[in-house]
């Protein structure tokens, strides 16, 4: 989707480029009624990938029979097929915005239908590719969705907060390594440009002492646009950035309240 097309849906409300004080950050607001349209078309595509895990859940019981272990306790867990909820919408929305506006690429079977409690330490919400100075690089992202009235909202703070997660990725090469291995595992299964681009990103990663990557934090809100949502955190993150790493924050404002399952309803509407 080209920029011109995205401008149909949302416009940039604030932007702060990188300087000594802060890392770059943006804020985008969806135009009137465009959020719902975007959700029910663009974002909805992503939800189809979820079918995969639902299928897996269905088959689990049958497949387990051969192992001698029972699936009794899982039936209830898997029976809740309601994948559609606000934070999941937020995640896929973030992916779409990054793809449409920032030329990011995410090419895998969606797997993060579930948060891994231990995985918080090992994973990232978004793992894909982007372009930096014309070359493919890895992109790792965290997404938070919040209707919290505070600015900045709580989801940015604390051990489960976005900033902490981004700092972990910034400071801990091992975590990035695992994500690189994971996406590489996906890439080798696919031929064509994705693998080629991953190869380039790999080279860039390792030849830069594992620093040439982009970390992106996306905050999805249904509140008033406010650069303060991100400003202080953009300052906080502007420390100890190793080598050629780029860290950015993106605020996405829906302009449409998420209460009363509004978002979910919008999703289910046909496009």
């Amino acid at each position: 989707m080209e920029n011109t097309v995205t401008e149909e849906y949302f416009k940039q409300e604030y932007y702060k480029p990188l300087d000594e004080k802060t890392i770059s950050y943006w804020g985008f607001l969806f135009l009137e009624n465009k959020f719902q349209e975007y959700i029910s078309t663009r974002v909805k595509e992503k939800f189809e990938d979820l079918e995969w895990t639902n299928r897996l859940a269905l088959e689990a019981e049958q497949a387990l029979k051969d192992t001698g272990f029972t699936a009794e306790n899982f039936i209830e867990i898997f029976s809740n097929r309601e994948m559609e909820n606000n934070w999941r919408i937020g995640e896929y929305l973030a992916e779409c915005v990054l793809e449409d506006k920032f030329n990011a690429k995410f090419y895998y079977n969606s797997s993060r239908d579930a948060k891994n409690p231990k995985g918080n330490d090992t994973g990232a919400d978004l793992v894909g590719l982007c372009e930096v100075e014309g070359e493919s690089c890895f992109l790792f992202g965290e997404v938070k969705t919040s209707n919290d009235s505070d600015s900045p909202p709580n989801v940015l703070y604390g051990r489960t907060g976005m900033v902490y997660q981004l700092e972990s990725l910034r400071d801990n090469a091992e975590k990035r390594d695992d994500l690189v291995k994971w996406i590489w595992t996906k890439a080798v299964l696919m031929s064509g440009s994705f693998k080629d681009e991953c190869t380039i990103a790999l080279k860039n990663y390792y030849q830069s002492s594992k620093t040439k990557v982009k970390l992106v934090g996306v905050l999805v809100r249904d509140t008033e646009v406010n650069y303060r949502d991100l400003h202080s955190r953009a300052k906080a993150l502007n420390k100890n950035i190793p080598g050629q790493m780029i860290i950015e924050l993106v605020g996405v404002y829906s302009g449409y309240k998420m209460e009363n399952d509004n978002w979910v309803k919008a999703l289910r509407r046909s496009g």
């Binding site: 898997f78 579930a114 891994n116 995985g119 690189v180």
Partner: protein
Amino acid sequence: MSMKVPNHWLINTLVEQEFIESIKIADYRLIKASLSDSFFSCKNNTTIINNEKDNALIQNVLDILELAIIELQNKKLETEQEKQTFYEICQSAFILLRALPLPENEVDKIKFVYKLVAYSYLGQRWQDGRRFLLENSDVWDVDSNEEEWDLRLFKKIYLAFLYLVRKSDWKDLTQASSIITELRDEQQKFESLYLQKQKIEYARSSAFELIGLYHLAKAIDVSAEFMINGNPINIREQLDFHFEKAIDAAEASSNIEMGLVIKLLQSMLQQMIANSVWMVTQRVNSRVTKFVEYITKSNKPIFELLYPQRRAILEKGLLDPAHKAIVVDMPTSSGKTALAEFRILQALNQFSDDKGWVAYVVPTRALVNQVTNRLRRDFSPIGIKVEKVSGSLDLDLFEENLIHQNKDDFDVLVTTTEKLNLLIRNGIEKELKRPLALAVIDEAHNLEDETRGLNYEILMANIKNDCPKANFLLLTPFIPNSKELASWLDPDSPNDISIGLSWQPNDRLIGAIYPEGEGRKWKTKFETLLTDRERIQIEQKLDISSETPMDIARSSLTKSKLAVAATKQLINRKGILLICQKPRYCWNVAKELSVHLDDIDLDDELILIKKFIEAELGEDFILSRLLDKGIGVHHSGIPDEIRFLMEQLMEKGKLRVLVATTTIAQGINFPVSTIIMASYRYPYKKMPTKDFWNLVGRAGRADQGTLGVVGIVIGDEKAKKEEELNELKLYLKQSTKDLVSRLVEMVNDLEKLGDDKDLGDLLYIDSRWSQFLQYLAHMYNQTKDLDSFSANAELFLRRTFGFHSIDPSKRKILVKKVREYAQKLDTQKSYATLSDSTGFSPEAVAKTISAVNKLKLTSETWNKSNLFSSNGKLKDLMGVMLTIPEIKGSLEEIATNGGTKRKFLADIISDWVSGKTLDEISRKYFNDTSEESLTECCRAIYSKIVNAASWGMSSIIKLPVTGIDFDKLVEEEKMQIKNLPSMIYYGVNSSEAVLMRSSNVPRSIAEEMGQMYKNSHDIKLASSVSATAWINSLKDEDWNKISANKKLSGVEYKEIWKKLNGQ
């Protein structure tokens, strides 16, 4: 096989330099760790492992290797090159990961071990991965008694995995399955509690994580089941199913690391299945299946094939009947014997309708016993019968019985080259009415041996001619031209199975040992050396000791003394082989060493063997004293039986050091941890590099530590040290040359022949020509007439290995001379015939007939009490033997103590046959019973007399001029005469004693036991089969009766006999 950088774009682009550096660091750590209990400079270990900078470098390279592995795991690897690259990458990953410290955190440790073992499998070095489990108890140290279900599950699955990998016996495999079964029961108890504790948004991912682990558990369970009994047949599909489910589940649970590890484990277990011995049975017949069932359940079970074995059987058509000749060239300790066993079974099956049999050819007499025992151990449980014939160059009556009367009594016959040659030429196939199905030629590189090489070649040429159905299996250490060898034997569809130098059973460190320092303050250094054949490429100097190891001045050092010093310092490495150039040096070294070592605890076996040695060689014999220190000695001056016992002790790990000459290279079938060479020369020349590497290949004991050490002593004289070091470096860098026939070099002798001389005269230039002349005589005997021979002369010659390598102009001359020679044979047909039965060249036959004729012998001469008496004709017969080119060489070497040689020899033989003990003979003929004298005595008897004299005797008896009229003799007398050569061979006085000796009964009780047998059996019908069965049935009181008045008790003799018989 130096470690080069694997050819993968990721490695080449990102970490090429770092790769080489990291491998060096890893090897450096390996050396330190392996030698920390012996080398002084390796003792302090901890600082190395904690070097963060090095660890980071290694981890960096490992990351890239992992990425390469992820990529290649996904590709279908088609070409050999692609597969090799993949193996190299995985092997490197294994080596690097092994060099990193084992994590303390249990979960991290588990992931570490999973990866390490997986890399070892994918790098085709599973035996190294397994060894890691055996050597590091920390690996097993995991507290699986967790309350949290996911951790409990994770850890217990890991433990099951460890048992699956270790599989020391089937119990380990059932243990792996039991753990999984236990987990199924525990699921009820622990799972719901665990799931209830999870936050609702994490519930699905936790569930998926468990599902992944359940599938992993099942995969391990079903793998264990398959390794035990080869079921289910669709194991590969089942594994793929469960692993794919596990990977999907890991994906769904967002557990990235788990997904990666499981993917590795999938490849690893598929590899384990591919390695499994059961894979062999999927292609073949019932005999092989029975064999596999047996070896998986035996005391030292084999569940998995090593990489070279797998390739040979499953990829390279070892068992494919289309190949008539297969040459297997592999490093020592690659499991060639198992390959031979599979091939033997396949051949027996292929020819079972014709009742085909197999000949297993070994290079030395001593090995006949060893190999027979091994084959019997493996084959009798499945009903395959293995027999041996002695190394003597004739069939004694009992061996004739074995072959003629008890026609179906053996499936496999173990024998030497010369003996089989004789059997083939005398029409054994026709006698048996059973075709030779397969000839297994062990240590086939001996084709190159200076003295005996031609025997190998001629043997195979004869087999090709006389046994049309026979297949060949040649086993050899690495030779570059195995294809050529195979094509010689089967031009249509030869098969050479070679893994070149790209695989080794274990890592080895080769270096020079020399002293540094002055006066009485010197230390032993170990300088590692680079060779093309070893993976480890590190140059460094290590201190073996921190102090001067012996109180002796540097200037007084000799290579032997240095070897002793080094051995003393390395004594913690159990199982050291110390090589000396000559038997005499062995004794000196052993004695010197004993001064520096403490006594060991002697168990019953050692006490018994000491007693036996004392009984055979005298109570004061030094070998018994040496055993008190755990030192054994092995060389040609020690009786065969005692050498055999030394080998057994060494194999069982009961000796700390075995001091031996280089002849042991061909004899041992077991690995040692360390080899120290006081010399790398044979007495008269440098050791051929093939022999050197064959010996070096023994270093590295599978259960004793990963690194084998080989140290070559130099620099005892300070001035020569640099020169010797350079010479050694050059020697080690020599590449292995093609295997070449002796004929090529021998043919140059043709130039020395004048035009009026024929090939027969070559015999006096070089006695090796005897074999060739015999070959011609045999071909002559087989063709109808002279014209036919002439027409086919070149064909006969082409049947040898060497002919096609001979210069064309020389070939022409040879063919011409061969035709001329046939004309000569045509005028003396009887000589050609006698050549076949005696194993002498026709010339020698002629000469001997003439000489014996002059002695005017009668039947009386041959009565044993006459023959072996002091005025018997034996000395005259010995005089004749001393003129026969084929045998005089070794007899001449024996030094007399005054008097004529023939009388000397005759007297010794008479005493030997009459039962005098070795120390008595030594005292009488070799001055005294010191170890030097006993060595000379034993060498004279075992290496020279028993072969040469028994061969000479048996050949003379076949000649028409002996004065024996067989028709006029009674059975008893006939038998006695025919057994005379064997009496000399075995050192006993009667036919029944010969029978006992051929069944491994010690000389000191052979007569008595023989007598007992004779009292209840008809000895004319006996063979070693019936004798062995009878001996096995003897009760203790029978043994006691036999050994009354002997130095050992009945029970003790029984024990010794069982050992000698491989029981």
